[in-house]
Symmetry: C2
Subunit: 205 residues, 2 copies
């Protein structure tokens, strides 16, 4: 897993610096940006970001605009907004869109530190989940179409005989595919197979 990184985005140099120094007291690596577009241009930061501390009102791309962009990139980093000019609709919108928190300046330093730490933990969990999911999807993608058909039957609780009838092939062929499915998915019981398929969300429910 990549080393965690907290991104601080604020066009005010003094604020950016002080927030950065504050968060560094947690022992977390921090990278500061004077504009939202600078963040999007930094691939390394995007890849490592475990939390984004974000001013709402900035020239160029706003904080809300950056949130939208990150959502479109399916970026999983929790976003903590920090703003002196927040209004009710803005906060509600940001939170609906999944912002981790919205703090009003001037904020209590300890509150920000607490929220950043929670956010980083959440990000780490999301990354673990995402990595697991990517792993499983990789295995599922390695199945041929026919193996996938057979797997669907297995997960649906069908007997080999029934799967053979469903697909119009012989039971022996089903056995063959079934063995390949177990091998490629790296499981050694039907229970494990069903478990990972259900958890990966690839069972249509």
């Amino acid at each position: 897993m990549d080393e965690p990184l907290v991104c601080v985005v604020d066009d005010d140099d003094a604020v950016r610096l002080s927030i950065g120094l504050l968060i560094e007291t947690l022992g977390l690596p921090v990278r500061s940006f004077a504009s939202a577009l600078d963040v999007l241009a930094d691939d390394d930061a995007l890849a490592r970001a475990h939390c984004v501390v974000l001013d709402v009102r900035m020239p160029g791309l706003s904080g809300v605009g950056l949130q939208e962009r990150l959502l479109r990139l399916e970026h999983s980093a929790p976003i903590i907004f920090v703003s002196a000019h927040g209004d009710v609709p803005m906060v509600a919108r940001a939170m609906r869109e999944g912002a981790f928190d919205f703090l009003q300046k001037p904020f209590n330093e300890q509150v920000l530190l607490d929220r950043v730490q929670e956010a980083v933990q959440l990000a780490a969990q999301r990354r673990r989940d995402g990595a697991w999911l990517a792993d499983i999807h990789g295995r599922l993608d390695s199945l041929t179409a026919r193996e996938r058909d057979v797997m669907d039957g297995m997960v649906a609780g069908r007997l080999n005989k029934q799967i053979a009838e469903d697909l119009g092939i012989s039971m022996k062929t089903v056995e063959q595919h079934r063995a390949r499915v177990m091998e490629k998915l790296q499981v050694d019981s039907l229970a494990e197979l069903v478990r990972i398929v259900v958890r990966s969300g690839c069972d249509g429910g």
Copy 2:
């Protein structure tokens, strides 16, 4: 499933009435309350509530206070706050605690209607999920301790022989329990069993 109900809570008679009438144009049953405590006292409303439209500032128990109480009751109804006096920390807090939305007065009527409808749909989905979960939990609770032990082994992908060794009993006894588990859980394949156990969140992951 109970008939849906939208609860409107506002100490201002005129506001309460107008919001109520507005929401009734959706064809949804509405019940209005002048105070948060009145809601908590109305068991029928609590049981049916699919959405709570809630003023923040009220004498007695505040809107935020009612949200807390409902959370403690594990009530699943989405809450839409409506307030003329919202500030940033209040909105952030309400949304963090799971509020469905936070609208500022005066609000656009269509926005409220849209959000109420979304909330009611969400509530219906939560109720379906909850009912399913309660059903499954009921079945799981009907298992004896030993049957539960055997089921855990089954879901973990253990063979009957291995389960027998784990529990220090004979394979024949495991077979007996296994059959009872399938019967009580009303499934007819291991795949189905694993599926419902995983989905019910009773597998420790």
